[in-house]
C-alpha cells in the first residue's frame, strides 16, 4: 500500500473532509449568487457609482441625502403601511381559510388545489389582471356596480392616493393568502385529534378548543409563516411596478420599487443600492423577532411552554 492511496482512503473515510466536499457545491452557489451580490449591493450604497461610471467611497453621503428626500420617506411610510395591513389581513384570512379547509368538506383535495391558484399564477400575470380590474375606464368592478345601479361614476381605484394604496394591498393579499393558508393547514394537521376529543370531554366549546389547543400548538408554525409573509410583502416589487409604477404622486412607491427606479432607469446605482440597503435593518428586525420567538417556544424539541 503506497502512502498516496492511504492518504486518499483516509480522506475518503474522514467525515469532516467529506462533509466539506459535499458542502462545497451548495456553499459555492450561495456565495456566488447570494453573498457576493448582497455584499456588492451593500458596498455600492457607500459609493457614488452611476451606471456608466464606477464610483469611489463616499461614506454615508447617500443615506444622508435620502434622509432629506421627501419621496424616500413617503416610500418608507408606504412600505410599512403596505406590509402591516397586507400581512395582518393575510394572516386573518389565511388562518380562517386553513381552519375551514381542515374540516371534512366535500371535494377536499380539489378545493385545496384550487386555493393554491393565486400562488401558482406568475405574479406579473396576476398583476396585469388586477391592473385591468382597477382600470379607470374599463374596471369590471366599476362596470358591474354601475350596471347594478349602486354607483354612478367609475371608481378611481388607482388615481386616488388612499384608494390606490388599498387597491394594491388587496392585490397583494389575494396573492399571498394561499401561502399562509396552506402552511397553517399543514400545521393544523399535525395536531392530534385526541387532544380535541379530550378537550371536548372536559366540556370545552369551539372557541376554547381553538384558544387552548389549536392556537398554542400552531404558534411555532405561525411564527415561521408570518416571518416569511412579512419578508415577501416588505420586498414586493412586481405588483406595484405593473399596476401603478409607484404613482399617483408616489403614493404607492415602495422602497423596492423606488430603489429600482432610481438605480436602473435613473442611472443612480449607488443611490438605489443605498435605498435597498435601508431595507435590511427592517428585515433583520423581522427575522430576529421571530427567531427569538421560536427559541422561546422550544419547538425544535417538540416541547412547549404550556
Amino acid at each position: 500500500m503506497t502512502s498516496g492511496t492511504s492518504l486518499l482512503s483516509r480522506v475518503q473515510n474522514d467525515r469532516n473532509v467529506l462533509g466539506l466536499v459535499f458542502l462545497f457545491p451548495a456553499a459555492a452557489l450561495l456565495v456566488v449568487f447570494l453573498t457576493y451580490p448582497l455584499g456588492l449591493g451593500a458596498w455600492l450604497g457607500f459609493t457614488d457609482t452611476t451606471i456608466g461610471r464606477s464610483g469611489r467611497f463616499v461614506g454615508l453621503e447617500n443615506f444622508a441625502s435620502l434622509l432629506r428626500d421627501s419621496v424616500f420617506w413617503l416610500s418608507v411610510w408606504n412600505t410599512f403601511i403596505y406590509t402591516a395591513v397586507a400581512s395582518a389581513v393575510k394572516f386573518g384570512l389565511g388562518l380562517w381559510l386553513a381552519l375551514l379547509l381542515n374540516r371534512n368538506i366535500p371535494f377536499k383535495s380539489f378545493v385545496r388545489a384550487i386555493m393554491l391558484m393565486p400562488f401558482i399564477v406568475p405574479t406579473v400575470l396576476s398583476a396585469i389582471a388586477f391592473w385591468w380590474i382597477y382600470d379607470s375606464q374599463f374596471s369590471i368592478i366599476s362596470w358591474t356596480l354601475v350596471r347594478l345601479g349602486l354607483i354612478h361614476h367609475y371608481i378611481d381605484f388607482l388615481g386616488d392616493p388612499v384608494l390606490a394604496r388599498a387597491s394594491v394591498i388587496a392585490a397583494n393579499v389575494w396573492r399571498g393568502i394561499p401561502f399562509v393558508a396552506i402552511s397553517l393547514l399543514a400545521g393544523l394537521q399535525t395536531i392530534s385529534p385526541s387532544l380535541y376529543e379530550a378537550a371536548t370531554l372536559d366540556g370545552a366549546g369551539s372557541w376554547q378548543r381553538f384558544r387552548h389547543v389549536t392556537y398554542p400548538l400552531l404558534t411555532p408554525i405561525i411564527a415561521v409563516v408570518m416571518t416569511f409573509s412579512v419578508i415577501f410583502t416588505f420586498t414586493d416589487f412586481q405588483l406595484i411596478y405593473v399596476i401603478t409604477r409607484g404613482g399617483p404622486m408616489n403614493a404607492t412607491h415602495l422602497m423596492a420599487t423606488l430603489a429600482f427606479q432610481r438605480a436602473i432607469p435613473g442611472g443612480q446605482l449607488a443611490e438605489g443600492a443605498a435605498l435597498a440597503g435601508a431595507m435590511i435593518p427592517f428585515l433583520l428586525a423581522a427575522i430576529l423577532i421571530s427567531w427569538f420567538g421560536l427559541q422561546r417556544r422550544k419547538w425544535q424539541q417538540g416541547g412547549s411552554d404550556a
Binding site: R53, F138, T244, M249, I264
Partner: protein
C-alpha cells in the same frame, strides 16, 4: 473625408465588386461616394431594440435586417422587446461590458455611459451630408463634446390626437394653437360629454411628453443654461395654474394613467382628445372592425398649443442606436447601422410604421409616407420643434435621473389635483431636482 482611406473601410464600389450579389437595387440612388465598412470575418451581431404598438415597425425592421444578412453574410439576431425593458437591459450591458453589440435605446441613455460607446462620428457625418443634415435636437442627443456617441434613429412623435366631429360639436374648427383657446376647447369638450384626457400617472412616455411641453411653453425650465436648477419661477407657477384649470376638464382617472391607458380609452370612444403618437390612428385605420375604421376617418392630429415663449416646445420620445465597445465586430455593426439608415431601408421602414417614427435627417421629410395621407403630414418634421429633457443645459446623468424620477409629472399632478398649491408643488420638485443637479 480623409478618414475614409483607413484600411478597415472600403469604398462601396469595392465592396460591391467583392461579390455582393444583390447589388444595385439595394444600394440605391447615391451609390457614388458612399461610405461603407467591411464586416469582420465570421461576424455575427446581436441587436436589442424596442417595439411598440405598431406592428409594421417590427416586421419591416426584421425584413431590412434579413436583407442586410443576405447582402453581407453577417448573421444578425434582433431581439424586439417592450420599450421600457430596453433601458434597464442597456444599462446592464453597459455596466457588465457584454451583451448586444447594438442597442437602440431612449432619450439620454448614451449620456449615462458615454465611455462604453464607440465613436460613430464618421458614420454620422456621412449620413448628415448625404441626407440634408441632422436636426439640431438629434445632434444634441447624439453628440457629446463634438463626438457622436449614438446614432439617432428618430423621434416617436407625440402630438394631440383628437376626434374632429367632437371638436366641431364643441364649436371649434380645429385645435386652437394658443393656450387660452386650448383650455376653452377642453372645457367645451367636457361640457359636451366628450372630454379630453392626458396621463398624470407615472407614464414614462405620454406623461413626460405633455408635462414637459406644459412647463416649457409657459417659459419654465428645469435648469438654466449653466446647469443651475431654475424650476422655481413665475413661469412654472403659471404653467401649474394652467394645469389646475385644465385638469378638471379631463376624463376621470388620468392620475392613474400609464402609457397604454389613453390609447385604450380613445379607441373605446371615452376620450376625444389626448396626446399620443400616431399609434391610435394606426390602430383604428388598420382595424378590421368597421366601427374603428369609421373612427379613423374622424381622427386627426394637431400640434400642442404655443404659449408665451412663442415657439414650438414639444417633447417627443427620441430613440438612438448605441454601439458598445464590447462588440467584437464593430465594423459589421457600423455597416449594419449604415445600411439601416440609408434611404431605401429607412424609407420602407417609416412607411411600414406609417410615420410612427419621424426621421432624424432632414431629407427624410421627403418620404411619401408624409403625403400619402394628410393626417400623417404633421409628424413629418417633429424633430424640428422639440426640446431635449436636459433643456436648457446639457444632457447627462442628472437629466436622466430627474426624468426617471418623474419629478415634473409629480409636480404637475400635485398642482393640478390640488394636492399641493402650485407654489408648494414647484418647491417640492425643485428640492428633488437639486438632489441630482448638485454639482
Amino acid at each position: 473625408m480623409s478618414k475614409m482611406t483607413r484600411r478597415e473601410f472600403v469604398k462601396t464600389t469595392a465592396g460591391a465588386a467583392a461579390g455582393v450579389s444583390l447589388g444595385a437595387s439595394l444600394v440605391g440612388r447615391a451609390e457614388a461616394a458612399d461610405l461603407s465598412y467591411k464586416p469582420e470575418k465570421g461576424a455575427k451581431l446581436r441587436v436589442l431594440r424596442w417595439k411598440r404598438f405598431v406592428q409594421g415597425d417590427e416586421d419591416m425592421w426584421m425584413q431590412n435586417t434579413k436583407k442586410f444578412t443576405e447582402k453581407t453574410g453577417v448573421e444578425v439576431r434582433v431581439d424586439n422587446e417592450g420599450w421600457e425593458d430596453v433601458r434597464p437591459k442597456a444599462a446592464v450591458a453597459a455596466n457588465v461590458g457584454s451583451g448586444p453589440d447594438i442597442i437602440i435605446g431612449w432619450y439620454d441613455d448614451p449620456f449615462q455611459y458615454p465611455d462604453k460607446l464607440l465613436d460613430l462620428s464618421e458614420l454620422a457625418s456621412y449620413l448628415g451630408k448625404k441626407y440634408g443634415g441632422w436636426y439640431d435636437i438629434c445632434r444634441r442627443y447624439g453628440t457629446r463634446d463634438g463626438k457622436w456617441i449614438a446614432l439617432p434613429l428618430g423621434v416617436v412623435g407625440n402630438l394631440l390626437t383628437y376626434r374632429e366631429s367632437h371638436v366641431r360639436a364643441a364649436g371649434f374648427d380645429g385645435v386652437p394653437g394658443d393656450l387660452p383657446g386650448f383650455l376653452k376647447l377642453c372645457q367645451a369638450l367636457k361640457a359636451k360629454g366628450t372630454p379630453a384626457g392626458m396621463a398624470l400617472g407615472h407614464a414614462v412616455g405620454d406623461g413626460n411628453d405633455w408635462v414637459h411641453w406644459l412647463v416649457w411653453t409657459h417659459g419654465g425650465k428645469m435648469v438654466d443654461d449653466k446647469g443651475n436648477v431654475a424650476l422655481n419661477s413665475p413661469e412654472t407657477i403659471a404653467a401649474l395654474e394652467y394645469a389646475k384649470e385644465l385638469y378638471p376638464t379631463f376624463v376621470p382617472g388620468t392620475l392613474s394613467w400609464l402609457d397604454p391607458n389613453n390609447n385604450k380609452a380613445f379607441i373605446d370612444g371615452q376620450v376625444s382628445l389626448t396626446n399620443n403618437g400616431i399609434s391610435i390612428y394606426y390602430a383604428a385605420k388598420n382595424s378590421t372592425d368597421p366601427k374603428l375604421k369609421e373612427m379613423a376617418a374622424d381622427i386627426n392630429h394637431a400640434h400642442f398649443p404655443i404659449g408665451p415663449v412663442g415657439r414650438r416646445t414639444e417633447f417627443n420620445q427620441i430613440t438612438s442606436a448605441m454601439l458598445f465597445k464590447h462588440s467584437k465586430y464593430p465594423n459589421a455593426a457600423r455597416e449594419y447601422l449604415r445600411f439601416m439608415w440609408e434611404w431605401d431601408q429607412y424609407d420602407a421602414w417609416m412607411k411600414a410604421a406609417i410615420g410612427y417614427v419621424s426621421g432624424p435627417l432632414k431629407a427624410f421629410e421627403k418620404s411619401t409616407v408624409w403625403t400619402v395621407d394628410p393626417k400623417h403630414t404633421i409628424f413629418r418634421d417633429l424633430a424640428g420643434g422639440m426640446l431635449d429633457n436636459g433643456y436648457a443645459y446639457k444632457l447627462g446623468a442628472a437629466s436622466a435621473a430627474v426624468m426617471a424620477d418623474c419629478v415634473l409629472i409629480d409636480m404637475v399632478a400635485e398642482a393640478a389635483t390640488g394636492a399641493q398649491t402650485p407654489k408648494a408643488a414647484v418647491e417640492r420638485a425643485e428640492k428633488r431636482a437639486l438632489r441630482y443637479y448638485k454639482i
